[in-house]
Symmetry: none
Subunit: 209 residues, 2 copies
DNA sequence: GACTAAATAGGAATAACCCCGAATCTTAGT
DNA sequence: ACTAAGATTCGGGGTTATTCCTATTTAGTC
C-alpha cells in the first residue's frame, strides 16, 4: 500500500517538479494537487490523502488557515509545510495549526522524503534550520489572537483586492454577512481603512505583497 | 548535440525538481547549478552552458544583476528568467539586463520547455501573462508612464490609511480632485481596489508596511 | 499658436460603511 | 444537561465614500 500524497502550492512548476520527483520514488503516489488553499481544503476532504505537502503563501486561503481547517475536518491527515520562510512566527503558527512537519524549499529533496516517512510513522519532522526557531517559544503576542477563522478568511480576500460582493459570492453567503465581518474586523483591530487592513494582513502573513 | 542547461535558484528543491523534469526530456542536459547569483556568474563562465534558467530572488547577487554580468562575460549565452513575480519593473529590468525569456513559476512546465527551444533559436519568449502586463502599460493612453509626482503623493497618503477628505485637507484641494487622482492611479496601474494600491505602494517603496 | 498632459472639479450612480436587531449554531464550563 | 459566551449568518435603514463620466484651467512642448 503506497502513501497517498496531496500537493498544495500556487506555483504549478513547483507542483510538477515535486510530482516528478515523488513518483520516481517507490511507495509514494501523488493523488491530487491544488493551487490555492480553498481548493486544497475541498479536495483533501474528498480524496483523503495520507500526507499533504503544503506551501504557506497561497492565494484565496493561505497555508496556515488551510492547515487549520484540514486538521479540523480530517483529523488523521498529516501535513508537511514546505515553505520559503524560516520566520519564527510563521513556523510556530503553522505548527500550532496542526502541521506535523516543516521543511524549507532550500532544503534537499531527500529531506522532504525523510519528512514524509517520519510523519507517516506519526512522528514530527522539523528542519534543523527551523529547530532553533522553535525553541524560542515566544507566545507573548500570539499572531492570531484577535480574529476568528472566518474573519481572517474575509480579511485575506479583502487584502487581495476583492470587493464585498466578490467575497460574498466567493464564500457563498450574503453581502450583508461580509459587511458584518468587515465591521467586526475593523472594530477589533481599531482600523478604519482598507489600506491599514491590508498592511496588517501583510504583517501577519495572512496575505503576501 | 543536446542543449546544455544551467540552473540558478536559491531553493534546492526547485532545482532538483527542474532537473528531474528536464532530464526526462530528450535533447536537454543539465550541466550545472547554483544557489546564488555570485556562484552562478562564476560557474557559467567556466561551464559555458547554452541556456541559463535564472531565478530573480537570490541571495548574494540577485538574478537581474547576475544576468547583467553573465551577458557581459559570455555574450552567446541565453538566459530565461523563472520568477514568481509578474511585476512590471522586474520584468523590464530583467529584459534590459539581457534576458531572452521570462516565465512565471505558476506556469506549466511545458511552457518552460517551449521557452528553452524558442530562446535556443535566437528568439525571445515572454509568458502570455507577462505580455499582458507589458501591453497594458504600453497601450493605455498614459503611455507606459509611471505615476506623476502628485499621484505618488496621493497614493502614499492613501496607502497610509487616510480618507479622501483627509488627503484633500492635507493637500488643500477639493476632495473631488483627490477622487480624480485616485481614479487616474487605478487606471494607470490597472488596479481596482485600495488593497491592491496599498500593496503596490509597499512594493514601490512609496509607503512602509 | 496648437497640442498634450497634469491638476483641478462637478453630478450621478454605485458601493462601502455603520448603527441596530436577531436567529442559528458551536463551544466551554459547571 | 444546562447555561453562557461567542461565532456566523442576515435584514433594515441611513450616512458616507467611491467610482465613472465629463469638463475646465494651467503649464510645458514643439
Amino acid at each position: 500500500m503506497s502513501i497517498k500524497i496531496f500537493l498544495a502550492d500556487d506555483h504549478r512548476i513547483m507542483r510538477e517538479g515535486l510530482r516528478a520527483m515523488l513518483e520516481k520514488k517507490g511507495g509514494l503516489e501523488v493523488i491530487g494537487e491544488a493551487g490555492d488553499g480553498r481548493t486544497a481544503v475541498r479536495l483533501v476532504k474528498e480524496m483523503r490523502p495520507d500526507i499533504i505537502i503544503m506551501d504557506i503563501g497561497m492565494p484565496e486561503l493561505n497555508g496556515i488557515e488551510a492547515t487549520r481547517r484540514i486538521i479540523k475536518n480530517c483529523p488523521g491527515v498529516k501535513i508537511i509545510a514546505l515553505s520559503i520562510h524560516s520566520d519564527k512566527r510563521l513556523v510556530s503558527e503553522m505548527l500550532k495549526a496542526g502541521a506535523s512537519g516543516y521543511v524549507l524549499k532550500e532544503a534537499a529533496f531527500s529531506e522532504l522524503i525523510d519528512a514524509i516517512h517520519t510523519v507517516k510513522r506519526g512522528c514530527s519532522y522539523i528542519s534543523v534550520e527551523i529547530q532553533d526557531v522553535i525553541n524560542k517559544k515566544l507566545s507573548k503576542h500570539p499572531l492570531y489572537s484577535e480574529l476568528t477563522d472566518r474573519e481572517r478568511e474575509v480579511l485575506q480576500l479583502l487584502a487581495e483586492g476583492k470587493s464585498t460582493k466578490q467575497i460574498a459570492s466567493c464564500l457563498d453567503v450574503s453581502a450583508k454577512t461580509i459587511d458584518s465581518h468587515r465591521q467586526q474586523i475593523m472594530k477589533k483591530l481599531n482600523m478604519h481603512s482598507v489600506a491599514q487592513l491590508t498592511k496588517y494582513a501583510i504583517r501577519e502573513g495572512i496575505t503576501s505583497i
